[in-house]
Amino acid sequence: MSTPATPSSRKVQQVDAVTIRFVGDSGDGMQLTGTEFTKASALAGNDLATFPDYPAEIRAPAGSLFGVSGYQLNFSSKDIHTPGDQPDVLVAMNPAAFKTNVADLKVGGMLVVNAGAFTEQNLAKAGYKSNPLEDAAVQQNYQVCAVDITQLTQLALEGSGLSSKEIARCGNYFALGLMFWLYNRDTAHEIENINKKFAKKPPIAAANVAVFKAGYNYGETAEVFRGTFEVPAAKLAPGVYRNMTGNFATALGFAAVARQTGKQVFLGSYPITPATEILHEMSYLKEHGVVTYQAEDEIAGIGSAIGASFGGALAATTTSGPGLALKAEMIGLACIAELPIVIVNVQRGGPSTGMPTKTEQADLLFALFGRHGECPVPVIAAQSPADCFYAAMEAMKTAVKWMTPVILLTDGYLANGSEPFRIPDAAALPQVEIKYETAQNGENGEYLPYKRDAKLVRPWAIPGTPGLEHRIGGLEKDSLTGMVSYDGNNHEKMVRTRAAKVANVVEDVPDLTVTGPAKGKVLLLSWGGTYGSVRTTAELLQAEGRSVAHAHLRWLNPLPKNLGAVLRSYEKVLVPEVNSGQLAFYLRGSFPGVDPVQFNRINGKPLKVAELAAATRELL
């Protein structure tokens, strides 16, 4: 099997960072293309961040606008935190993909299109009267490389004996090969991957390899490209890495707790976009002490988790907005019964069914206040795809240590986005201890399930423990025995005690750290998935020598002890959110006198650094 032509003699230009977006029909395999290129970039030692953008429909009609599927990748020699605002390179496999994405492409950016797909019929489906590629503006604004990928793929596979349908499916490997050439990636390893991936279908494997090479060689031979680029390796901490999406990281985080403690992790969930993959991933981890249960609905999902928690399992449930709404009553029960459980809410566009495949941060106030009665629960938000791993461990640790439900917020962007994850050594992981009560704790040798320790935490005695038989439930309970009590003063005491316990969790909340000046003009305060964009914005403005600091809130309840002081150390606090200003409101309510400036987008996308930077400059 002939190896592809040796790397170009033509000049190789060094660049720091590149953002590529692959777009095509749901059927065009863009997600695969993107992931493969991501792997190669990772192996090349780049730091990276990715963000897929699926259509809501499973398989929209070929060529339709709403059927376009995209995958964006930002790879760099520096350490980066976002998949990039605007692509430098757009690879568009058909007119619909071109139409829905070209506006995002950087002016002067490189536009690679499959000219072969710009047929009358496809143009019509995308609502074009004429071929936009011939449009002068397009020619001026971008470096247009129109390649007839369709035809070149066919040529490459002549006599392969494959059906034309099968041949068409190989087109994405042509695009991949072309990009490999353009960024000088290691083709040998990719060829291995292809052969592995299609091991069961050798002819298909061979075909994809052939087309991949064809794409690579096309770059080498055809004169359409000025030259190739090289993005040097980033200076990442040494270690073993893997690429992870937020959902995968969340699953891994929970499983890690099971392995660490030797206890069972129980996940009771009901599928819902964009949280479903957590359940998928955990369903595979049977040999790792993970038990998964797909319940009949969200209520039964969390119900099963609370039941398992009563039995001593490290229990969790995973969902998204509509599911969180359905779980509200159950969270209240876990709160009053004081049973540990983690509720993962992968935020998506709302209200109601809203925009299931788009990201949003609009469930913050719901997570904080979304239960009847006084029902405080700790709330943690993950800040990046890989951070979901640590956030999941931390949430479970908090739940079992404090005997309380804990809400973990992630979002559609974190869930589906990916970044390299440095595999930690076991010792370095946050430790989770589990202690089941085994002895009576009452004066008269009885067991008092609500007798608390100094931190106000009640003991956890589980079925199977002789002599500690007890009953718990959702009615207000006597402060020691846990028996039903309608006494008003007992109720007031219990309400305050539950609140005090959750307030005590602050001992586990690290003080807020600030990057940039400790005092100054503007503090950018981010929470959850906007971390990357806000951090990048801060670095940009700091590089411009401006008095801008950045702090990130990982804990939403309790808030870090020093938060008030930090907020008051800056002339202005800017709170960027993908919602209408929920954290800003929460801060005003929590710190009288503090009145943050808001920066809100609610368009289903991660925040754009350029927009946020511009808004920040205006405050300076």
Binding site: R259, E287, G289, F310, G312, I423, T465, P466
Partner: protein
């Protein structure tokens, strides 16, 4: 071991000899004087010493309702949960802890109104849970509203002119959902109720026991049509495994299957040549649930007695068994996982 979080206790070896008293929590039941719930808890507490499971491994889970106060009065591990949701907690607990014996105590509103979905799913999955439903055909705790088992036309606080809703036939619903064990008892027949509860305890898989329960305050006399001494013999059909379906005083009447009409009919022994061998012999162990369903549909049918006893009792692998069998197979195949293996699975690369 992960199944049981290392607190397994032991079902092996002899159990300590316990009595009814050992299963009383010491809290006096707060049911109204004369409530049928008393006779039910009495039978359950009598049964507990004889189910062959240590007390600390028996869990009672309930929803909300008068009936659902039950766990507070049992000296076991117990959860008084949310209205309608008990089966969901029970399912999670049973899957997580197959070593436990899990009971659900619920009411007709709790199980069949708000809880209907969890009810049919726990039956469908054949989860090894014993669900006892106190059917008083009314919402007791909220003081007398129509329930999904209240009769059509019933006058209640929310249906002052009569209910426009048809009631469920609970055993038929359970059978339609795939229940492997379905039985019916009556609060005033303690001994029989005890037998039904024992049969449920002995059944491996989802077990549904409907108990007709009188609510003297909001639906008094709901079952007198069948429980009054005078009519009892004529109006109750006692189904017993392997026995012909006879009833009536001195068992002169019987249920016959009429092949022409393909339906059940009431016949009288000795009348137009009917002998005992014409009578349908009860077999609850049939894999096909149809006969059980047919008997369930005699309930409330004009001219027919109300069947009590075991409608169906069939052994199938349970959801919890299948789940753990799979976990063991996978673990055997892949080997016990370690934190190391977990973290390094999948494609990795190394940065020097």
């Amino acid at each position: 071991m992960e199944t049981t979080n290392g607190q397994n206790g032991s079902t092996k070896g002899a159990l300590p000899l316990l009595t009814k008293k050992d299963f009383e929590s010491g809290v006096d039941p707060r049911w109204c004087p004369g409530c049928g719930d008393f006779s039910i808890i009495n039978q359950v507490q009598k049964l507990m010493p004889n189910v062959g499971v240590p007390r600390e491994k028996i869990v009672f889970i309930s929803g909300i309702g008068c009936s659902s106060r039950f766990p507070y009065y049992m000296n076991n591990y117990g959860m008084h949960t949310l209205h309608g949701r008990a089966p969901s907690f029970a399912s999670g607990l049973k899957i997580s802890r197959p070593d436990l014996m899990v009971w659900v105590v619920t009411g007709d509103g709790d199980a069949l109104a708000i809880g209907g979905n969890h009810f049919i799913h726990v039956m469908r999955r054949n989860m090894d849970i014993k669900l006892v439903m106190f059917n008083n055909r009314i919402y007791g705790l909220t003081k007398g509203q129509v329930s999904p088992t209240s009769e059509l036309g019933k006058k209640t606080k929310t249906t002052p002119y009569g209910s426009p809703d048809y009631p469920f036939n609970p055993p038929a619903l359970a059978l339609g959902a795939g229940a492997t064990f379905v039985a019916r008892a009556v609060d005033v027949e303690g001994v029989h109720m005890g037998q039904m509860l024992k049969a449920a305890a002995d059944h491996k898989g989802s077990a549904y026991v409907e108990v007709y329960q009188n609510c003297p305050v909001f639906n008094d006399g709901a079952y007198t049509y069948m429980t009054e001494k005078a009519v009892r013999a004529e109006s109750i059909l006692r189904m017993e495994q392997g026995k012909p379906l006879l009833f009536g005083k001195d068992n002169k009447k019987g249920i016959r299957f009429n092949p022409q009409t393909v339906h059940l009919e009431v016949v009288t022994l000795g009348e137009n040549g009917i002998t005992e061998k014409d009578i349908l012999v009860h077999d609850a162990t049939h894999s096909d649930p149809t006969i059980a369903f047919m008997l369930a549909n005699l309930t409330g049918k004009p001219g027919f007695p109300t069947p009590i006893g075991v409608f169906r009792d069939v052994r199938l692998p349970t959801c919890d068994e299948l789940t753990w069998q799979q976990i063991e197979e996978v673990t055997a195949k892949k080997g016990q996982g370690t934190l190391e293996k977990l973290l390094t699975s999948g494609e990795t690369w190394t940065v020097k």
